[in-house]
Symmetry: C2
Subunit: 474 residues, 2 copies
């Protein structure tokens, strides 16, 4: 957790106070600074974000969309929200993709035997029963793959070996995840029989990172290799003219299943029909406990609701916590919410999403009507005591709020430190011990401050200009 030095924090508070007393003082209520400080103090001293995550992880565990545990997660959210002081708690049905992993196995079979740790990519088809066995051809990137001679690929397993950069802002993921999403499609076009992908992750653990892939008409089985296994396969291909791999995936897609977005609110004291949405997703991948992805976000979102519900004076507008269905490989929850609430889009004054793990918020960005920028500048000042800096680049909307952005809803983008996130993301290693409770409390305090301020301010952020409604990846 990053903290500001006390002297620096004090000077920022003074500066914020000066600004609030100056000509722009109407952008936020006069008591915004003291109100934000109280919220932050409460969360950093008595926060419950971690215990909320623990409850979800321990009582439900992995909760892949469409599974029995996904329904258990919906039930968990419906019974938990009222205990946190949220009102009008209800589920809004969504049909979700239902895929299951089944058994999976891979090994190098020639020129020697070596076991490989793999995980099918989400949505992958299975192999024929008994698996397939083929020579391997390696490509370092999607572009390199596209340039291969189809004669060198036909009948083979393509091994797409794109390493990922470790970055604070997750930009390394954005660069590399294209290989996961489009690799099988490109390999199939060239006649490959399967795809093996170097895991999109920054760790060196013998654990493979799953994740969504594109859905295509002619599909080939696709699986991620752990990073050490990708390194091994690369070395074997350097040392041997032919390397054969056997791959058996039991993955299959079932008919769509019922799931739901779960919603709870803190009704606004003056304009209850205007809402600020804070979202996270309830589903997780199947192999880990879904602690950082997205139990942490669920904890942040619910804790934001709990903190604001406990205030003696509620904000002017309604705060709506939305726990979305199937963010991971279908986004049906987000699409359903945007479709069902399209008529209310104009009354959504802002949306934010927590889906980047449990580490600290280090920056805040915004997207809205540029004429209303001063409101954002003042809101950002409320976050400075938490060590959060204002960045003037446009916000990236998370996947679940991007359909709202497309409807013009302003976005608050609280950027969490992603340095460690992709060590565990989409793996069995996504477990509760990867979250540091005081650090999660900092993140919850930041989200709660921003949501509270957006809900309580007199004016609003306007609408996102038409030319900025296309999703920019977080």
């Amino acid at each position: 957790m990053r903290r500001l030095a006390p002297a620096l924090a004090a000077s920022i508070l003074l500066a914020a106070g000066a600004a609030l007393a100056g000509p722009s003082s109407d952008a936020l209520p006069a008591d915004a600074t003291s109100g934000a400080a109280a919220l932050q103090r409460e969360e950093l001293s008595n926060g419950r974000a971690f215990s909320i995550v623990q409850s979800l992880v321990d009582e439900v565990g992995p909760r892949l969309a469409g599974s029995r545990a996904d329904r258990a997660a919906v039930a968990w959210a419906l019974r938990t929200m009222p205990t946190l002081g949220l009102s009008d708690v209800h589920a809004e049905r969504a049909q979700v993709t239902h895929w299951e992993r089944g058994a999976e196995h891979a090994e190098i079979v020639a020129p020697m035997k070596q076991p490989l740790v793999v995980a099918a990519l989400g949505g992958s088809v299975g192999t024929p029963p008994g698996g397939l066995d083929a020579p391997v051809v390696e490509a370092a990137s999607l572009d390199a793959l596209r340039k291969l001679d189809p004669a060198a690929v036909r009948g083979k397993i393509v091994f797409l070996n794109t390493p990922m950069r470790r970055t604070r802002d997750g930009s390394g993921y954005g660069e590399t995840v294209r290989s996961r999403f489009f690799g099988a499609r490109e390999a199939q076009k060239l006649g490959a029989v399967a795809l093996l992908l170097r895991s999109v992750g920054t760790d060196h653990d013998r654990i493979a990172h799953t994740g969504a892939k594109s859905r295509d008409e002619h599909e080939i089985p696709a699986a991620a290799l752990s990073v050490p296994d990708a390194d091994l396969l690369h070395r074997e291909l350097e040392e041997n003219t032919t390397v054969r791999v056997r791959l058996a995936l039991g993955a299959r897609t079932l008919p769509p299943a019922g799931s739901a977005n779960v919603i709870g609110e803190v009704p606004g004291r003056e304009r209850p029909d205007e809402v600020v949405v804070i979202g996270a997703h309830l589903d997780s991948w199947d192999q880990g406990g879904g602690a950082i992805d997205d139990g942490a976000g669920v904890g942040i979102a619910l804790e934001t609701g709990r903190l604001i519900a406990a205030l003696p004076r509620k904000p002017r507008r309604t705060v709506r916590v939305v726990l979305f269905a199937n963010e991971e490989h279908g986004l049906e929850g987000a699409k359903t919410y945007a479709r069902d609430h399209a008529a209310d889009a104009a009354r959504h004054v802002a949306a934010t999403e927590a889906d980047f793990g449990g580490d600290a918020v280090y920056a805040v960005r915004w997207l809205g009507d540029p004429a209303q920028r001063e409101r954002f500048v003042q809101l950002a000042r409320l976050l400075a005591p938490l060590g959060v800096e204002r960045q003037d680049d446009p916000a990236g909307a998370g996947a679940d709020v991007s359909p709202l952005q497309q409807l013009g809803v302003p976005i608050l983008d609280l950027r969490q430190d992603g340095t460690r996130y992709f060590d565990y993301h989409h793996t069995p290693n996504d477990t509760l011990d990867k979250i540091d409770p005081p650090t999660l409390a900092q993140a919850a305090a930041a989200f709660a401050t921003a949501v509270w301020a957006a809900a309580d301010m007199d004016g609003d952020f306007g609408r996102v200009p038409d030319d900025q409604r296309k999703r920019t990846h977080h």
Copy 2:
């Protein structure tokens, strides 16, 4: 890798030089310091220890005693040793325990479903076909387990949840490994149907650490849980009155199999029938590549042989590299060597073993005739430029040379930094990327220096006194 500051290193070299010029100068040859410096320079600049490990890991991979890959490892050693300049390369047959893991599966089944990552302990029996399903009772240590009321244990799965301390010297392992070795025996005495052990490891990865357990007449299935799974099970037992686990282990022991110690030498120039042994073990557990355990030791031992074989003037005595069979769960290679060479024990002037990973040597200890201590003090000075300190506590012999210690053979104990070792030890995560090549070169330089000096000195270390021949764990 720890390095001495250059000024400090220089002062140590001067001190060593002064000592060699003084009254004790007959303990080591006059050119020992320059000879050691040359060996170290060669290893740190042009060392091949890492490439030897890579060759073993990539060409053979996991090599559980008795398996087909174990035989491939013997063949690898027989073909590799001559290329490194070793002479009289040969295999000495040993019968080894032959166990196999089979499929394994565990999950919490009540009050909710949660998957658990497990690994059968080496030598465990399997469960009945289809697995077993029983309530769980937790104990924090072997002592706490022994104190449980048999009525509270009968028919249950004992969960032995002993955390391991992270230490440089591996002492945390010594404290905790008793739970792995004796846990199933103690649980069975109280009527338990199975043992689940918190992995003996310092990581928080979703990966279970296997390892040997005692072999008993009445056995129950025994498996390690990954640390995050142990933490989860502990929390579930705190929150729920009854927690049931289903455990299915396909493990079984097969008839003993043929394996071998593989031996190669650098013949001594004056007293070829006197030998200094450097050992490591060729076998590994089945789930990882056996890079740190004990590919690194194999690399260090073979590199020691290669460096010394390449010297223009060979040491007075023979240097013997012994790659032992089945150190992991039987120690038959070490026992066979000690039995077959018992008549020659008096001509073994020292033994050392590399079986603690690929990290740096930070200290050296010794065991021999106390009257010969000055030889050890001078030998230790040769290691100071590598940042290795002399410790005057008695040496701990590694498992493979402990039978030689029992025969009175002096022990050189080059202590490697074990801080990270138990993050990966006995897991699928024991892969090549866990070794840092320059750090491994430091370790190889230290072992090579000590072995060379012991082989070249005029006098010897005498014999280990009778009362110190009992094994002290490394």
